[in-house]
């Protein structure tokens, strides 16, 4: 979901080159065996399978096509549980040999893509030679530089945004409040007792300004009651989103897989952590101590008790699936630059005004999603130019019973 940031110059360049090449080749050729796309797709498989080397969660993939025919592989890779439940003896045996850990289904992969991945595996995990990097032309080079520059700017902007956030979070109106009160008191004292300043309009102006400031601060503090903006609690494991989502570029949905299907984004279960941390046992920052806590949870059977950061009142119904899947929103729209945070902070106040603001501004996937065909009048208005876009509130997103029931 999230557009991931790049942290070091070298990795940016490499990725850029690769990405650009991929782009060029994809335009130039049809899908062919062992394409870079297969390499990309294989990244998912790699969490559990080695092609060669030590066995991970699933079996090693070397010699895959000798063991199974392609038709079977296609079925199994698309939905392994379906094959197992149909009573296929090979699949059942495989399932049992691998501690009955199910392989997640991949309904989105096409036959071509799967065959492509298989060819990639057969080739020992390398893309075909014709995809090997060719020297970029001057034109390409300048295009690359242009893009790189833009990315630097974006990166700087994001860093600034995060710093601003930290600044906002640390801002304390307490001092302003008390100083203003003291000024107010002094002014009043002078007005009635000491009378050092003869022109009373000075007093009046100062009192009015002080009262305005006190009022403003009181209002702001009162409005924030029960809200948890800038909430940044310590977690039982020092888990860094910056490392996972930022540097390692793990997709948000890999761990928070519920966000596409359910009202809850879901915190990953311990076994999902172990998909990688079965192998990765040492972190860059914390060494082994923090990762050991996952293994401890796994061995003791007691799941990790994370502190929930984003809380909504019980009378609010919020569905991640609605926003992420149907609304195609980026996670960062509500959660901010999580991939830059070591310790996650609640960036927005999650107030009703904030929700409604967005519901009034956000454009609906009106043309792209067939669901909205039911709104005939709006389609008509779009067609005859009465409106130029459909925002969420136009289809009722500001109604009470869209969120409260």
């Amino acid at each position: 979901m999230t557009i991931t940031p790049f942290t070091s110059r070298g990795s940016i360049r490499n990725s850029m080159v690769l990405g650009l090449l991929m782009l060029l080749f994809l335009q130039a050729f049809d899908l062919k065996a062992q394409t870079p796309e297969a390499e990309k797709n294989f990244a998912q498989c790699r969490a559990c399978h080695n092609i060669d080397g030590p066995k991970l969660i699933g079996p090693n993939l070397k010699g895959l096509t000798q063991r199974h025919d392609t038709a079977w592989l296609l079925r199994f890779i698309r939905n392994s549980q379906e094959v197992i439940q149909s009573g296929d003896p090979v699949a059942v045996k495989l399932f049992e040999e691998n501690n009955k850990i199910p392989m997640p289904p991949h309904p989105d992969l096409t036959d071509e893509q799967i065959i492509d991945i298989i060819a990639y595996i057969e080739n020992g995990g390398k893309v075909a030679p014709e995809y090997a990097a060719a020297a970029p032309t001057a034109e390409e080079q300048s295009a690359q530089d242009e893009m790189l520059n833009q990315m630097y700017l974006q990166q700087a902007e994001r860093q600034q945004q995060l710093e601003n956030l930290q600044g906002d979070a640390n801002r304390n109106f307490g001092t302003t409040f008390y100083v203003t009160i003291i000024i107010l008191l002094i002014t009043l004292f002078d007005l009635f007792v000491t009378k050092l300043i003869k022109a009373t309009f000075v007093h009046k102006v100062v009192i009015l300004i002080s009262l305005a400031i006190v009022g403003e601060v009181t209002y702001k503090e009162a409005a924030a009651l029960g809200r948890q903006q800038y909430y940044q609690p310590d977690q039982p494991i020092w888990f860094s989103h910056k490392v996972h989502a930022g540097q390692n570029r793990i997709d948000c949905l890999y761990c928070h897989s519920g966000a596409e299907h359910s009202k809850n984004a879901t915190i990953p279960s311990t076994n999902v952590c172990l998909n990688c941390h079965n192998v990765v046992r040492q972190g860059k920052i914390t060494g082994t101590t923090e990762i050991a806590k996952i293994h401890e949870a796994w061995n003791s059977g007691k799941p990790v008790e994370w502190v929930k950061i984003h809380n909504l009142p019980d009378h609010v119904f919020f569905s991640h699936a609605q926003h992420v899947n149907a609304g195609k929103l980026d996670c960062a729209e509500c959660h901010g630059p999580v991939e830059d945070m070591d310790v996650v902070m609640q960036v927005n106040d999650l107030s009703m005004g904030w929700c409604l603001d967005c519901h009034r501004k956000t454009e609906v996937q009106f043309a792209q999603n067939d669901f909205y065909k039911s709104y005939e009048k709006l389609h008509e208005q779009l067609k005859n130019g009465a409106i130029n876009k459909v925002t969420a509130d136009m289809i009722g997103a500001t109604d009470c019973m869209k969120c409260h029931y």
Binding site: G87, S257, S262, K263, T266, P268, N271, S374, G396
Partner: protein, 990 residues
């Protein structure tokens, strides 16, 4: 229309009374209210300041406190099929010895929270009833036995197993008698498990039905050479004649019958034919209230009436019989009518008397109904109990011949008429093991209590009719330390297998062979477990040809009854039923469809008899030795027939049930070895004092407006608009200054076919379960504070002594010109762009202006915190223990639990609308008609409720709205409701 409708007797009587003579209940209510107001207004200005100051201070303190730390605890290994926050549905089967229903269990984050009908079953086709809907709450019943015990002391399962097996071995060694006493067992695998047990320990299995049909089984034994109950098809019958068979409420398989019955009486989709239903009864039952023609008949005269019908039919068919029974003109006409419907009629009798059933068999045989509306090759297996076997067992127990008794899921100490005799015999039994599901009176008298799982925690299967198999699977792990009874039997017999494996093996060996279309058993099993249903199409071996001799003998024995005393009918109502689920607050608060009373049973008595005996509503009487019971005057009761509901008066069931009503089971008499649910010549003694009964009836009277419109089939066929003529007139007067509101996309609407609604109340319980509707208890219902979002209004028409009954489900009408919305000072209730009348609980400040301005009186106010939603503990009012941490597990997490001081009402199940819209969006497609189904429509066994998008001209609801029969409630007020009603059509013409 000339017919005068009245909601209760008070309404008629009021005309003749003085103006200030308000009915007693209301007056008392008003006085109480005045007292409350007085107390409230004595608060002085100073008190106000105190309270105000305290509120401000506490708010300041509360706000300075830190927010609580909330935890998010993920799974260790997330089950593959489960996504937190998303519900899963599992197919299962509900059978508690009385009601049978294939169901889908909605499981949300590991908790079963709702029961829905399984549409894949061709038997029930997705229908449910109130008790099936309520059964999910039974899972969270805190009163259930939580672990095995011996003489009241908790023991471990290992210890219980060891001691029971030791004692069983001892009994076996001395050749003693071992008996398993259970309800009817319809599960083939359970039967196999029991026979495994009986192989290891030779003994006997006795099945005991609370609502027994043993006389019908015996009659069929005599006529067909086999004791069985045939399967009935009310859907194929054009003429139904029922003699006190409450087939829509309690007789045999009411869920299935309601589906068949209502399908054959629908006039939507261009159907121009409906069945005709003639009902004879003394008590006013749900089924009787739906009949096209209801004839009052004293229970003691029933036999002679059936005999006269048989005689008349025989003479019409050229076979004469000498008998002293007179044939009345009515019966002659009926016989004529039946004779014209040969092969498409159905005659049923609810009586548990062999002679009656023999004659009914002969009638059906004469009419050629066997093979068409009644099938003898497909047996209905829901009632296999034999009253004589039960009586024999009790005799043997009293003689000391029974050495070991296993009472599984039966409660004879409460529901056997001669409970004392059972108790005496029990004292002489050596090994006494009770295996109850719910806490009951019987188990506490047993030494060992080995609690059985709730059905939602168990594996099981069922064969309700020959070849109609269903599976049951657990939706949750056992909450307490209980164990499936079948597993216990297997264990004691030395088979160390869990019941799931046993069921699976049994299916592989015995049921899989009936299927042809599967490669292997695993595929078959997975498929059937997913569907929950397997219909093999198998049939029983042919029974022998009909032998008319026993029926003719029975006919010869019939004499005209000359009894003139008061007669009693005991019956199972649609809520509490036989009392098995009496500890279920939803069922206790469910108003009876006829009397609208809840939280009690009572004596229904005809107005004429009440006048004669000087009885008034809520007077206390004693029936025989049973009482004290309050009296409710019930129009429609036969002059000298009184009725009392079974299932009340539990003494050891748990908090909501204990002490509610009186136990009517001891009133049941035995005749020729069969339990009789009608008793001639009972004594009715008036006692001093009165007893308040909570009724949901008189406090929303609609003051004689055109709210129910009805017609007859004949007039309907002539003019589809008949009965609804007034609509055109009203429409002419509907004028407004404001532009008509337009809805783009969706405009939700609901249509209710008054012809189909039987008043079974399944919708009410379904709504409570879906929407977290609180249970308020008797005292609050007395104050008209019940919270149901949907109610079924019942009106009488015509003669006070023999009225007809019409009924109408009413929920929020979601008016497009809603009176409630204009008066809310804080805009807590507004209109959505999809035509929903929205209610934002958190904005509501409880002025109740909306409630006062609603012409339909569908808004409910939370006078207290009934569900434990409030932070202030003192606000809690929980007489039914609904707010215990265990029962709260049934709450639907997608619906806000309302706190004290807010209004609530039907939301058209907006959470379901939103859910289905989201599914369509993620699948990139338009919403399909019929996809969004509110809980009430889902539960309705008669498909009386249709929901959909009014903007789509092809949707079912649009078609209903376009029908000439459609009208809106109080439409002359120009509220523009989104709920439409179709006129009730009665088939009273022939």
């Amino acid at each position: 229309m000339e017919t005068k409708y009245f909601k209760s007797l008070e309404e008629i009587k009021l005309d003749t009374r003085q103006k200030d003579n308000v009915p007693a209940g209301d007056k008392q209510f008003i006085l109480e209210m005045q007292e409350e107001v007085k107390q409230a207004t004595t608060a002085s200005r100073r008190d106000f300041l105190k309270v105000f100051g305290f509120t401000v201070a506490s708010a300041a303190i509360a706000s300075s406190c830190e927010q609580p730390v909330r935890k998010a605890i993920p799974f260790l290994v997330q089950p593959e099929e489960m996504i937190p926050g998303k519900a899963n549905y599992y197919a299962s089967t509900f059978f508690d010895g009385v009601d049978y229903c294939p169901v889908l269990v909605k499981v949300r984050d590991g908790r079963p929270i709702k029961i829905e009908g399984n549409k894949l079953s061709s038997m029930t086709q997705g229908a449910t009833n109130a008790r099936t809907q309520a059964s999910v709450l039974g899972l969270y019943d805190d009163a259930r036995y939580k672990n095995p015990s011996l003489k009241g002391t908790g023991i471990s399962w290992e210890e219980a197993d060891k001691q029971i097996v030791e004692q069983l071995e001892a009994v076996k060694a001395k050749g003693g008698k071992i008996v398993i006493l259970s309800t009817t067992v319809i599960s083939p695998s359970t039967k196999a498990a029991i026979s495994k047990f009986l192989e290891a320990y030779p003994g006997e299995h006795v099945q005991y039905d609370v609502l027994s049909s043993s006389a019908m089984r015996e009659a069929n034994q005599m006529n067909f050479g086999e004791a069985f109950i045939p399967s009935y098809n009310f859907g194929k019958a054009d003429l139904i004649v029922s003699f006190d068979a409450d087939f829509l409420g309690s007789w045999l398989s009411p869920i299935e019958f309601t589906k068949q019955y209502s399908k054959n009486r629908k006039l939507t989709d261009g159907q121009r034919k409906m069945s005709r239903h003639i009902h004879f009864e003394g008590n006013l039952s749900v089924t009787g209230s739906n009949a096209d023609k209801r004839i009052q008949l004293r229970p003691s005269r029933e036999k002679a009436t059936i005999a006269s019908l048989l005689i008349q039919l025989r003479s019409l068919n050229g076979e004469s019989v000498a008998s002293s029974v007179n044939v009345s003109a009515d019966i002659k006409a009926l016989a004529e009518e039946l004779n014209n419907n040969k092969g498409t009629s159905l005659v049923v009798a609810g009586s548990n008397d062999v002679d009656t059933q023999l004659m009914v068999n002969a009638i059906n045989q004469l009419l050629g109904n066997y093979g068409s509306t009644i099938r003898t090759d497909v047996h209905l297996k829901l009632r296999q109990g034999d009253d004589k076997a039960m009586a024999k067992l009790i005799d043997e127990m009293n003689k000391g011949q029974v050495d070991a008794l296993f009472a599984w899921d039966v409660n004879p100490l409460y529901d056997y008429p001669e409970a004392a005799k059972f108790n005496a015999g029990l004292a002489k039994v050596g090994l006494k093991v009770a295996m109850p599901v719910y806490r009951d009176e019987t188990a506490s008298a047993f030494d060992f209590i080995c609690p059985d799982n709730h059905y939602l925690e168990s594996w099981n299967d069922a064969e309700a009719k020959t070849g109609y198999f269903t599976l049951a699977q657990p939706a949750i792990r056992p909450i307490f330390t209980t164990r499936a009874a079948q597993e216990s039997f297997l264990k004691w017999a030395g088979h160390e297998t869990d019941f799931r494996t046993f069921v699976q093996k049994n299916w592989e060996e015995n049921i899989y062979s009936q299927s042809e279309s599967f490669e292997n058993f695993t595929a078959f099993w997975n498929h059937k477990l997913h569907d929950g249903v397997y219909e093999s199409g198998a049939s029983e071996n042919a029974v022998s040809a009909f032998d008319p001799t026993p029926s003719m003998n029975a006919l010869g024995n019939v004499k005209e009854s000359s009894s003139d005393g008061i007669e009693l009918v005991v019956y199972a109502n649609v809520g509490v039923g036989t009392g098995k689920q009496a500890n279920n607050p939803w069922l206790q608060e469910l108003p009876d469809p006829i009397s609208k009373a809840c939280w009690d049973n009572y004596v229904s008595i005809s107005p004429k008899l009440a006048d004669e005996l000087g009885l008034e509503d809520e007077d206390i009487v004693k029936v025989g030795e049973t009482g004290p019971l309050p009296v409710l005057i019930q129009p429609g009761q036969e002059y000298k027939t009184i009725a009392v509901a079974l299932g009340y008066g539990r003494s050891n069931a748990g908090v909501p049930a204990n002490g509610v009503g009186q136990n009517a089971f001891p009133l049941i008499a035995m005749s020729n070895g069969h339990k009789q649910f009608t008793i001639a010549d009972v004594s009715l003694t008036k006692l001093d004092g009165t007893y308040p009964v909570a009724r949901t009836q008189t406090h929303h009277s609609m003051e004689g407006r055109e709210i129910i419109r009805e017609t007859t089939l004949e007039s309907y066929l002539e003019n589809p608009e008949s009965g609804n003529e007034v609509r055109e007139e009203i429409k002419k007067h509907l004028k407004t200054l404001y532009p008509k509101r337009e809805f783009d996309g969706f405009h939700w609407g609901m249509a209710i076919d008054l012809s189909s609604c039987t008043g079974c109340n399944a919708c009410v319980v379904a709504c409570s379960a879906e929407n977290n509707v609180p249970v308020v208890g008797k005292e609050q219902v007395r104050k008209a504070r019940e919270m149901h979002w949907i109610r079924i209004d019942r009106y009488y028409t015509g003669d006070v002594d023999n009225p007809e009954i019409v009924r109408q489900p009413v929920m929020c009408q979601h008016c497009d010109n809603a009176p409630c919305e204009n008066v809310c000072p804080v805009a807590a209730t507004t209109h959505s762009n999809e035509g929903l009348n929205q209610m934002a609980y958190n904005r509501c400040i409880g002025t109740r202006y909306c409630n006062n301005n609603c012409p339909y009186k569908v808004r409910r106010f939370n006078f207290f915190d009934y569900n434990g939603a409030d932070a202030m503990k003192g606000n809690l009012k929980d007489p039914a223990e609904m707010a215990t941490s265990l029962r709260r597990l049934v709450l639907n997490p997608d619906v806000t639990v309302r706190a004290k001081g807010v209004i609530e009402k039907c939301s058209f199940c907006v959470q379901r609308i939103q859910e289905k819209k989201l599914v369509a969006k993620t699948e990139n497609r338009q919403l399909v008609d019929g996809e969004v189904v509110p809980a009430c429509a889902q539960a309705c066994p008669a498909e009386a409720i249709v929901f959909g998008n009014l903007n789509d001209p092809n949707s079912k609801v649009s078609k209903y709205f376009a029908s000439e029969r459609n009208y809106h409630l109080l439409e002359e007020l120009h509220t523009l409701p989104s709920v439409g009603y179709l006129t009730k059509v009665k088939n009273t013409t022939v």
